[in-house]
Symmetry: C2
Subunit: 242 residues, 2 copies
DNA sequence: TCAAAAGTGTTATGAGTACACCCATGG
DNA sequence: CCATGGGTGTACTCATAACACTTTTGA
């Protein structure tokens, strides 16, 4: 069987490769940070866990490919998605040389409705208990964790992991999970509220306490306008990052 | 002429692509920040300016390819080189679909000895006066500038652009060029020296003043140890970045 | 009534910033 | 001796960080 990609080469003498995208998909269930993984349907390593990925199609951009892969798995559109890095070690895929462009995604776990274990055998894993992964996927996950910590220290991206309504204590638990530490709740809420990015709601969430915690919503206009600002959510970022 | 990359496909039905690396090479001549560009030797757009690039070889990693391209052009090894982003628009190269992984490099312009205009028709351009570039290279340059500003606000990478011995005023001119602004020299030198990354030398540089400015060298051990620290060289980073 | 989480206020310390003068020296 | 760039010191402001008590209410 010959390469279906064969064609007249216009830059002669160069070798052609497969290109894939792989998605590191983060979620937050209110308590723990999780990663969405799938059981690989292709040989080799069939049945082992891997990141959700797919091959770049002939007329598709990288971003389009990553969004397609994500939509196929979760049914979600408009998800926060960011290119992480290209992984190009010649022997990273033992089957055939494949360059992979890794993307990381942040999704509101509650919007993810499709049955997990059907078509793609997908499952959420605690970020701290990731199973053995194929190929160089462990390195991709490590880099994504690092990048998430880095970026979240400077930009308000973690809201992407929360539902539309959330409480300050929920937000704090999320940040504490990301940085694997604890914050002073008084300083945390003051800092968060001082950004003026949150709009207080009338209702309370009584799921976690008798007193109840006020819901907040993101001010989406301010969020977009201030996205590039350095918010410094994190005390001592130099000690926590990397 | 058929695809020289044809071979038995082990992931059948997928299309294969060319993969290239392109380097955005920054230099600093003591006054201005510059970019190293080459005149393209291949059709199309032959004779037009472009970033230095090359195709990924069959048994080569991306980092190796970028280093090879850089070495071929400058003769330098061990240069600061960082993957920027993969560019994968299907029509970015009109000749044939080619994914390009962009790298940005910081080099000490004085160590760059090879004749510029020989084999590769390379030339330094003022960053503020970049000629028309081919393909999506303008977008790559813009992203590299942005990334350089971003990263330099948080990490001491700009030392990579300076010779082994440099003065504080030189360093300040460099930072001012990167951020296209001016800094208070008293605050700047205090901030820089407070990092404890610089070792004062006995000699002075008298090229720019009668009094002369003391040379400093980087403390390379501390530099490596503190590379990930947030140094906050830049006042009001949120106003300056992006 | 009490346990458990939510919410709030004060103070001390350090970093950032604005600002002005003296120093050294080649011409 | 003076013009030029190099180098330093101080005071103010604001953000950060440490710290403890009151509020609410379902069980």
């Amino acid at each position: 069987m010959y390469d279906s990609g064969s064609k007249i080469t216009r830059y002669p003498g160069q070798s052609h490769l497969l290109v894939a995208v792989d998605c590191i998909i983060f979620g937050f269930d209110g308590t723990n940070i999780k990663l969405l993984l799938v059981q690989r349907g292709l040989k080799p390593e069939k049945g082992k866990w891997s990141l959700m990925g797919g091959f770049l199609q002939a007329r598709e951009s990288l971003d389009d490919a990553a969004n397609r892969v994500l939509r196929k798995l979760t049914g979600l559109e408009g998800v926060y998605l960011e290119q992480l890095q290209a992984f190009g070690d010649p022997s990273r895929d033992p089957v055939e040389r494949t360059l992979s462009v890794a993307y990381f995604a942040l999704i509101d776990i509650h919007q993810y409705e499709k049955q997990l274990s059907n078509e793609y055998h997908a499952e959420w894993f605690l970020l701290k208990k990731i199973p053995e992964l194929i190929f160089d996927h462990p390195a991709m996950v490590e880099l994504a964790k690092k990048q998430l910590r880095y970026k979240a220290a400077l930009h308000p991206i973690l809201f992407e992991l929360l539902p539309a309504r959330f409480t300050i204590p929920q937000l704090q638990i999320l940040y504490e999970g990301i940085y694997d530490t604890t914050f002073d709740n008084r300083n945390f809420s003051r800092k968060v509220l001082s950004t003026d990015l949150l709009i207080k709601q009338k209702e309370k969430d009584k799921a976690n306490s008798k007193k109840g915690a006020f819901y907040y919503k993101l001010d989406k206009r301010k969020y977009k306008a201030n996205f590039q600002a350095f918010l410094n959510f994190i005390p001592n970022p130099d000690k926590l990052l990397m």
